[in-house]
């Protein structure tokens, strides 16, 4: 069977992309070699294809807009001024849009709800605060069509759109940014430890890194039902859903990259779809389809039989009683980490405690009754 081609769906500029010429010294890096899991070129083509249908792409921005919104709320908690901020993996400028319209009035998703939207009657208007606190926002993205899909949102923050060849090597000088944001992009990075170390390097001392990424159990319903369908129809399992980092790993990765004062939390978003095909079409329109290296050659193509079986199994296994649609869980991991800097709170060294907690809290030894 001939592997399917994305060619007819792509804008012509996407087909002309060349890798920038770069030479590196032959080095033998210590530690385990970097595993290539995702095919970066396939991911690029998927994003280009998704964004070339602007209307459809705007329709499926619901998760990205929501997550960008929640990420910006976290930024709001940090009371300081950011002269220069980087948005790493900007997708369709979702963070810039969320900053421009802090009460959910995004261009794409709710064009009609503008007049009667519930506006927060805060004394301190968050929009004014946030926009005045950021002086310059750099939006970096790998897919040009997605980046330039919408006109720049009207806000007082000067934006700079930047095209990166890959998210894995950042072309910035050390100590450049006062904050780095990233919303739903870094789950497609092969070498997450290296990327986090680079982010740590481009941040100024005592500057925060705020990110949201898809986590391990996202769309687990689809993953399990596809496995069952594959197993029953073809007698084996091939990866149809890309692997994702787990919540437990993130803390370790961040501290390994040199970050301090870590905060990691998880947010589950359950979205209801009419059927599995709608779910898969939406994932495709987001440019979030599977990009495992092995699936590139059409190895893991879904046949109609498997799709048919998958629809039935998904509905039986995960569908809820009395509901027409099927649920899909998106697990978003939010992280806030700080680069080490002077004047930052630090934990005391181990073993330096002078007081026994038992004396402070009262109580005593456990008694077996």
């Amino acid at each position: 069977m001939r592997p399917c081609s994305l060619r007819p769906y792509l804008p012509t500029s996407a087909l002309r992309r060349r890798a920038p010429v770069s030479r590196s010294y032959a080095v033998q890096a210590p530690g385990a070699p970097t595993l290539e899991i995702f095919n970066q070129h396939v991911k690029y083509l998927q994003k280009e294809r998704a964004a070339s249908n602007a209307e459809q792409s705007r329709k499926v921005d619901y998760i990205r807009d929501e997550v960008a919104q929640r990420l910006c709320e976290r930024l709001l908690d940090i009371q300081r001024h950011f002269p220069s901020v980087l948005d790493l993996g900007a997708n369709s400028l979702n963070i810039a849009r969320a900053l421009a319209n802090p009460d959910h009035l995004t261009l794409s998703s709710h064009p009609t709800s503008a007049p009667n939207a519930p506006s927060a009657p805060d004394v301190t208007d968050p929009s004014k605060l946030l926009t005045s606190r950021i002086s310059h926002l750099t939006c970096a993205e790998t897919s040009p069509t997605l980046l330039h899909r919408d006109p720049e949102p009207q806000s007082s923050i000067p934006l700079e759109l930047q095209l990166l060849y890959s998210l894995e090597t950042l072309p910035y000088e050390p100590n450049t940014f006062d904050a780095v944001l990233s919303s739903l992009s870094i789950h497609w990075v092969n070498d997450l430890p290296s990327l986090l170390a680079q982010i740590n390097s481009i941040l100024k001392p005592d500057a925060p890194f705020l990110a949201a990424m898809m986590g391990g159990d996202s769309v687990f319903e689809l993953r399990t039902s596809l496995q069952l369908a594959d197993l029953e129809r073809r007698g084996g399992v091939s990866p149809h859903v890309s692997p994702m980092a787990d919540v437990r790993d993130i803390g370790g990765l961040l501290s390994k990259a040199g970050f301090k004062l870590l905060t990691v939390d998880v947010d589950d978003m359950v979205v209801e779809y009419p059927d599995t095909f709608a779910l898969m079409m939406d994932l495709q329109a987001m440019g979030e389809s599977n990009a495992i290296l092995k699936s590139a050659g059409g190895l893991a193509r879904l046949s109609r039989d498997v799709l048919l079986a998958n629809e039935s199994i998904y509905r039986q296994l995960h569908g809820e009683e009395g509901k027409e649609g099927i649920p899909a869980t998106f697990r978003i991991i939010y992280m806030i980490a700080w680069k080490e800097g002077a004047g930052q709170g630090k934990p005391l060294p181990r073993g330096s405690g002078q007081l026994d907690l038992k004396d402070v809290l009262g109580g005593g030894d456990f008694k077996v009754s």
């Binding site: 769906y9 249908n53 209307e55 069952l228 197993l231 029953e232 129809r233 073809r234 007698g235 059927d275 095909f277 709608a278 898969m280 079409m281 109609r304 039989d305 799709l307 048919l308 079986a309 629809e311 039935s312 199994i313 998904y314 509905r315 039986q316 296994l317």
Partner: protein, 59 residues
């Protein structure tokens, strides 16, 4: 791409007409999903596919 119905949409519509057969097949799998093997529910799948093919043929 706009203006034309995508094959996946036609497929989804046809499959949607076979909810009874789909439920039967799904139940067969879920009943013993710890030890699924190839063609475990071949009979149920054949019924489901027949229904789908019939539904897909109709103009």
């Amino acid at each position: 791409m706009s203006g034309r119905v995508r094959p996946i949409e036609k497929f989804a519509e046809a499959v949607g007409k076979c909810s009874v057969e789909a439920a039967a097949y799904g139940k067969c799998i879920v009943a013993d999903y710890q030890s699924v093997h190839q063609d475990m529910c071949a009979k149920e799948f054949a019924t489901l596919k027949d229904c789908y093919l019939k539904a897909a043929k109709k103009p």
